[in-house]
Symmetry: D2
Subunit: 296 residues, 4 copies
């Protein structure tokens, strides 16, 4: 029998994810705060609900992907939220990047309804979402994941089970701390070298000749050298993820002195108006201080 899916949140990632589920033949009911964003889905064959609760009614699986912890609490726990109608035995997959602590609380409330939750944040761009090639990091019970796997396979090609509820998010945040720091410290190094008269291309050749070479910086460097900061992942979202990681570190008794420093640099860049640019734009904050440009 065809599974019914409630899908909450039709943003940059949610839109193509929901579309893929419709195309795969699921009965999909979508909800988005701004209703107009639901129209393409409606045309594709989805039903449109007027509340998360309506989207969740009769659903076997509810998928939510919203912008922050408060929004996730609202669509799941709030008035008109999914838990109002969720039936026992259903599965909630929350793919939002939010606080692991909030996520564990949502999982508890979900369990209180006889249903179960997975935290399943993703990596991969809008493009990856369109092609169903996302990577999922998943926290919750493995048996629940097994039951949800057929749906998740429509959305992504890699599904990494991390452990108990909240651990998918912890893994995602750890991953983003590593990426944020790699890019920011790459920029610190390039500014230092540029100030000493080393051409950016020369410094790049050195990094590429070394074990520090990474796809991430291979990808970002040409954009940095052109000063093109069209957002692949906006700086303000990277700053948000760093803040979430520090919150998780606080809650778990982990010292992250470098992540803390990195977060303040992105935060300063955001405050200076660079939040909507790609996070590689953090280099311009460092350049403005040093009075140098890392450009071709």
């Amino acid at each position: 029998m065809t599974q019914s899916i409630g899908f909450i949140g039709l943003g940059i990632m949610g839109q193509p994810m929901a579309t893929n589920l419709v195309r795969a033949g699921y009965k999909v009911t979508v909800f988005n705060r701004t209703r107009s964003k639901a129209e393409p889905l409606e045309k594709a064959g989805a039903r449109v609900a007027i509340s998360p609760a309506e989207a969740a009614r009769d659903a076997d699986v509810v998928i939510s992907i919203v912008s922050d912890s408060a929004a996730a609490e609202e669509v799941i726990l709030g008035k008109g939220g999914a838990l109002e109608t969720l039936r026992a035995g259903a599965i909630v997959i929350d793919s939002s990047t939010i606080s692991p602590i909030v996520s564990r609380r949502l999982a508890c409330h979900t369990a209180g309804k006889g249903a179960q939750m997975l935290d399943a944040p993703v990596t991969g761009s809008k493009h990856g979402a369109e092609k169903g090639e996302l990577t999922f990091m998943i926290g919750g019970e493995r048996a629940v994941l097994d039951r949800a796997m057929s749906v998740l396979q429509v959305l992504g090609k890699k599904h990494i089970y991390c452990g108990q509820n909240g651990s998918g998010l912890a893994a995602k945040l750890a991953q983003n701390v590593i990426q944020a720091a790699m890019v920011e410290v790459f920029c610190e190094g390039f500014v230092l070298a540029a100030k000493a008269g080393v051409q950016p291309r020369t410094m790049f050749e050195i990094v590429q000749s070394s074990m520090a070479r990474a796809s991430l910086t291979d990808f970002k460097a040409p954009f940095i050298f052109k000063g093109d900061f069209t957002p692949y992942f906006p700086l303000k979202l990277m700053h948000k993820d760093l803040a979430l990681a520090m919150e998780a570190a606080y809650a778990q008794g982990v010292a992250m002195p470098t992540a803390a420093a990195v977060k303040e640099v992105y935060g300063a860049a955001k405050a200076k108006g660079k939040g909507d640019q790609d996070y590689a734009a953090v280099i311009t904050f460092l350049e403005e201080i040093a009075g140098v440009q890392v450009r071709d």
Copy 2:
């Protein structure tokens, strides 16, 4: 006509470098503070000098590779140092990783003798030195580099010209800041994930599935998971390079907030007795704080 080479400093890197030069047919005169270390070179066919000055007398090229700024000043500028005997037109190649500021001063003094200096720090392990496969980052006049190239090609397979005197060192230090931070923040992320119940292998799979994957962390991770910190590059030397980078940043008006934080973490790890281990041992400092182990 065969070129004469004075070679100063027979440490882990200097020993195989000098040996390669002897084997390549150069007339090599070596100097090392501890004379016994010169014996293998003597057997291989080098002459042994009792001072840097003696090693530099009649040399076309003087190569030095010593442990720090003070030692470099001593062997080049000090009493019995190379500049006492260096003839006009000779080339000094200093491959020590030292302060770019000190290096530029040495270059000035060398020019005062009618000779010329290149700063030419290397990356690559002892193994790379043995096989003549080092990478050189080179500062100084390009015409001088051209004249020195035949010698440098015996020692390494990649020679990256960076610009004016001191820029080779600036590039090397920028490179090491990037590596030091990559490894340290990788450790912060893994400790955060481990504390949330994510297995190290799982977290590693996530990093390897992402654009953050790098040969450096691919190489370090298995050692970290085994708790094997046999030194490839000792933590205390990475800490030294971070200190040199911060000194260069100070001199050039570059803010490096993340590098500053990273340096203090390595410094704390060194103070706790981990200086002679590989720099990946920085993770044990973070683990001891968080009360968790990132092990298989």
Copy 3:
């Protein structure tokens, strides 16, 4: 006519505050999660409620002082919380040190009931609470503060109006950042000096001879020199306040690189088991790294 006061939270500070209100002749109804803590108040003449809602019923003023943002949300907004019964025109004074963002949300919900809220965190020890000598930093409408002043004057001797809702908390957190950093960096300086052979008493004499002299460090230093870390203000609470300050800074686009570094040092000290000691115990974390003791 005698005002009725609902008082929620009988911890170290709440207990003596509520007692002072009873003694001043107010009709006080108290609530505490652990009922046994309410007994002394009952003997003193307070009524004991079984929920925040019951404590708030008929109250002219509701005062809450609980441990964190979640607890404040629970006792005010939650099931059985004060807002369920609060009458229009009443005033809620929340003296908890919590997130200014959460506090502003509570103020909105309170306004929705036709009542009004002040955030009014305090400084001053248990001793100050007993003697009615606390300092209040107050956010909200000034007219509301004017109406609440007679009650607040029973509890403290200084009432500083800071501005709109949330600004009392922002001021309190800014103040604690300053104190936390002063003590921590005092410790860094003393460890550096001690490692160089300067006696702690000598270093202290230097600080006391300078403009950097402060009552705070004059007070903490003798305890540090004795290694006596009996908690005046526990390290874990200082770490909590630093985390709240960073959260507020994140929300408002303020870069606090030094506060971020300070927070990680306290966090590391807490993770190493020093959370229940006075926050001056942060020095022992630094001492353990440096291998030196700052003792008489």
Copy 4:
């Protein structure tokens, strides 16, 4: 018999110090790199030397106060430096704020001439120098200090013996780290509060009501509120002292994570052109990021 004094370095502090020695009846021979600065001293009755060596010839006590480690090495060890002529039994008092490591090396060389050195950096403004009210922090042998005390009493009113050579400087640097951090974190707190709508005067009242009150911030605050950064102590010199402190911490195995963060903030402010202003101008760097002004 009247003691002869060689005095090297007639900067902002050196000028009034040397003048006080002349007035106290000592035979003073001065040296300054820029000779014109020696003219007022000549008129006051000092002899003017053309080199440090000439100033040191026949001196019982040589006092030097120059701008950095390199300058101190130059005037003491360099060609034409004081050690060339210094007689056995003389005392060198170096009041420059320089690296303790360099200072210890100078002390060794001085001992090699049968003379002895004290490191004796000062605190106190130009005004304090004029009135002979400086505070000296002194490293070296106590017996040497006893012999030098009569001279030092002309220059200052407080003389704090810190221990072995280099410890006077270590104490001075520790003191400046504390001051630099106090002012910078005061600024971070005020920016956070201002962004939340708290008036600077209100926040100041809170700090002044607390144990965190210090003469230093009482003094700086009114200038900050006016945006008046006329230099009492220029920001670039505070940055220099932070760099020296970090260098000393590196050499001695002390982790100073907060000092490291503070140094980068001052460094960024200096790079943005604020180096010649008072170090309280660091607030403008933080204000520019946060988009707020802490002004009356």
